[in-house]
């Protein structure tokens, strides 16, 4: 493409885009990355809320085991909640589906599908994704995958109930819901495969003239590494899914050991399989998946911190090298989830060493983001509050992971609430705060209107306080040895008695957290129509292309009125000689 900007402007497809697109093409089967991004955002927000609802139900059972669920208990049906009291099988389904929905249908589609789709092409100055139809196909694999997961609640035996990790051989002999879980996962994996190929090609091939790799906004780097993780880590889980489907449908024994006896009856299978094989294949995906959850969040936070401290990110190059190294290392740490499986101390040693090594780039990234604050004159906007909230929360999540990465201390903490506390600090007050930050930050880009700051601040303080009330006591319970998958929250164990009262506190926290989301919903829907209008498009006075070269909202097909050309790095705030005090990436020389 060597058209001059004038020629591009002349062939500006704005007009025909509006004429030819019917309702279906424009909003349902759209091939415009912006619409697909919004589709992903709305769908994944619904799934996030649904996954959270499942957890609120579980928290009732944990706080008040054996008492009927008020108001909605009767609506759940006799098999799920006889007499309004939650059945153990239903509790297991809720646990498995909460994890699955939050990870695969909530956070990842929001972080990658929504923010990646909407923001990345704009930040690199591309007219769209490299393969718009694949992009559409990606969403239309994701949605059926999600619907299959939802449908599984209505089959006999309920939804999958073997934990989100679906450990074999339990999952092999589980009810029909598990088969639907596997079909759903195959669809979701296909969706993420299509998406990740598309992202990598887009970033490498479609970046604007002058946008060299070291001029990428950090968010683009985070998405690039994330895409490689999705591309290379998901296929082994697909293989595992195929093997488990064969086990369940064709009667093979990939994960069934010889001589397996269930409830006193020998299982009718040839045997010879390995339950450990499932764990290896699963964690080969699921550990990189952790970084899929966190890297886009770090990218969002980096953008917002640079923008609101009004100075360049501290150590941009260290951030980039760290994120690449992190992505690479994330492929060789998976078995630290398996110290208790008896795989042997030699293997444990290898994996605890790599786990300690991978903590180094994480610390570099977090430190660089903290140091970026130093000496800045910080604007405490709502997105900035959420980004600042992310830093200590992710810090707690990361540091509490160290004892779990060392085999000796993991033996005590394995499968306790400590583990739940640890990864929820990474994902919930960590990633989800960053995702909220991203929503407040890019909302004006999508709609042309800002969200309300007051409601945003109420939302922030409510969310961060409640999240800590929910997750901090989990460390206390976990250190006391309370196991994570107990239907009654530990009532029948002597060692849990001293910490049981925290269950009520955590449950109250979870329900209050739901109330704290009300300002967000009001703000979100009200601002679409009534929010303060963005005047010149660049409402946050940012330097990156999505704000400086495209209107808000961007042009329907093609994003940019004029093809952007990049002249400098992403965060040249406080640039001397520029009238407005910062240097947009696409400003030719000192204006």
């Amino acid at each position: 493409m060597s058209k001059s900007p004038e020629a591009v402007a002349a062939s500006h497809p704005h007009a025909h885009g509006h004429h030819e697109d019917g309702f279906l093409r424009k909003y349902v089967f759209s091939i415009d990355h912006k619409v697909i991004g919004v589709q992903y955002a709305l769908t994944s927000l619904c799934f996030l809320f649904f996954g959270f609802t499942l957890m609120m139900l579980m928290r009732w059972q944990l706080a008040y085991p054996g008492s009927p669920i008020p108001l909605i208990g009767a609506l759940l049906g006799e098999s799920a909640a006889p007499g309004g009291i939650m059945a153990p099988e239903f509790y297991n389904s809720l646990g498995a589906m909460h994890g699955t929905i939050m990870v695969f249908l909530g956070v990842v589609p929001l972080a990658v599908g929504a923010f990646g789709n909407f923001v990345v092409p704009l930040q690199i100055g591309a007219p769209d994704m490299a393969f718009p139809k694949l992009n559409m196909a990606s969403y239309w694999c994701f949605l059926p995958g999600g619907l299959v997961m939802l449908a599984s609640f209505f089959v006999p035996g309920g939804a999958a109930n073997s934990g989100w990790t679906s450990y074999a051989p339990l999952s092999n002999i589980a009810t029909t819901g598990q088969t639907l879980w596997l079909f759903g996962m195959v669809l979701l994996i296909t969706s993420s495969l299509l998406g990740s190929v598309n992202f990598i090609v887009t970033i490498i091939q479609l970046r604007a003239r002058g946008l060299t790799y070291m001029r990428f906004p950090f968010f683009v780097w985070a998405q690039l590494v994330t895409s490689f993780l999705l591309l290379l880590a998901f296929p082994p889980l697909e293989a595992a899914g195929v093997l488990q489907l064969m086990d369940r449908l064709a009667g093979t024994s990939f994960f069934l050991p010889t001589g397996l006896v269930v409830s006193g009856v020998p299982v009718d299978a040839s045997g010879g399989g390995s339950p450990l094989l499932w764990q290896h294949l699963f964690w080969f995906l699921a550990h990189p998946e952790v970084y899929v959850l966190i890297l886009p969040a770090m990218g969002i936070v980096a953008e917002i911190i640079a923008n609101n401290t009004r100075k360049p990110l501290w150590g941009y190059k260290s951030l980039v090298y760290s994120v690449i190294f992190l992505g690479f290392m994330s492929f060789i740490v998976w078995a630290h989830h398996m110290f208790m499986t008896g795989m042997g101390t030699t293997i444990s040693n290898f994996f605890q060493t790599t786990t300690m090594i991978i903590s180094i780039p994480s610390v570099v990234i977090l430190s660089a983001l903290f140091l970026s604050l130093w000496g800045g004159s910080i604007r405490y906007t709502t997105p900035m509050l959420f980004a600042l909230g992310f830093l200590p929360m992710f810090g707690i999540g990361g540091l509490t992971g160290l004892p779990l990465g060392l085999a000796a201390s993991d033996i005590h903490l394995h499968d306790t609430y400590y583990v739940i506390g640890h990864f929820h600090y990474v994902v919930a007050p960590g990633t989800i705060l960053a995702l909220f930050a991203g929503i407040y930050y890019w909302f004006p880009k999508v709609t042309g209107r800002k969200m309300n700051e007051t409601l945003g601040k109420i939302h922030f303080w409510g969310t961060i306080v409640c999240m800590n009330i929910v997750f901090m006591p989990m460390f206390i319970q976990g250190l006391a040895g309370v196991s994570r998958r107990l239907y009654d929250g530990g009532q029948q164990y002597a060692h849990a008695q001293g910490v049981l009262e925290w269950n009520v506190v955590m449950s109250m926290g979870a329900w209050t957290l739901a109330l704290a989301q009300i300002p967000f919903f009001i703000n979100f829907f009200r601002s679409i129509r009534k929010g303060e209008k963005v005047k010149d498009g660049n409402t946050w006075e940012a330097t990156t292309l999505e704000w400086t070269a495209a209107p808000s909202p961007p042009v329907a097909h093609g994003n940019f009125p004029v093809e952007p050309v990049v002249y400098r790095g992403p965060y040249e705030y406080s640039a001397p000689g520029f009238a407005q005090g910062y240097a947009p990436q696409n400003a030719p020389e000192k204006a």
């Binding site: 493409m1 393969f131 093979t252």
Partner: protein, 196 residues
């Protein structure tokens, strides 16, 4: 703005979009089959006894099938060469031949499968048969997928030759890369399952 580099190569990467895309896709396919081959190794190492492939499976038929697939890779390259020389008629002939090789492979494979079934050898019989059916079945699905794409480029997809010949040629090249990969997977499957 149109999406750039759908036909021409980007100067600094030397690739057009679809070519980079297919290489990335193949990388993920390597991980998929890599996981399955690892499964094979793990199950075999852990098994007290493991049958010798040639005692159960039909080596002559599989050898013929290997030849068929290798031939199809050659005809696939000839398709692309003919398109580069602007000989559309020839390219069509070579692509049809490639398609027929695919058909031949699937026919021979189904003869093998039905022979196994008639001897009451099913995926549930033992771990060896399980991994045999899973690996060859998944590979067969890949062959079938490639044939569907070929059928499209022989049928409705061929119209693109009249409007955008270079883009059509690129598409055949991308299809070829995929086809060679499917071929290569078989080159690994054959010794692992039949000979070792």
């Amino acid at each position: 703005m149109q999406i750039p580099y759908t036909v021409d190569v980007r100067p600094d990467t030397g690739l057009y979009n679809a070519k980079l895309g297919i290489w990335l896709f193949l990388a993920s396919e390597v991980m998929l089959f890599g996981a399955l081959f690892s499964t094979y190794i793990l199950l075999r190492v852990a098994a007290p006894v493991w049958p010798h492939g040639s005692d159960i499976l039909n080596v002559p038929l599989a050898t013929v099938n290997t030849m068929v697939l290798i031939t199809s890779s050659v005809t696939m390259v000839m398709t692309w060469v003919a398109l580069k020389l602007k000989q559309f008629g020839r390219a069509r002939m070579w692509l049809t031949l490639t398609f027929l090789c695919g058909v031949g492979f699937m026919v021979i494979k189904s003869i093998e499968y039905s022979a196994k079934f008639s001897h009451h050898l099913y995926p549930s019989t033992n771990t060896f048969m399980a991994i045999y059916f899973t690996l060859t079945g998944l590979h067969g699905l890949h062959v079938l997928g490639g044939m569907l794409v070929m059928a499209y480029f022989l049928g409705p997809g061929a119209r693109m030759w009249n409007t955008e010949p270079e883009r059509y040629t690129n598409r055949i090249e991308v299809l070829g890369l995929y086809w060679h990969f499917v071929d290569l997977v078989w080159i690994f499957l054959f010794p692992v399952l039949y000979l070792l």
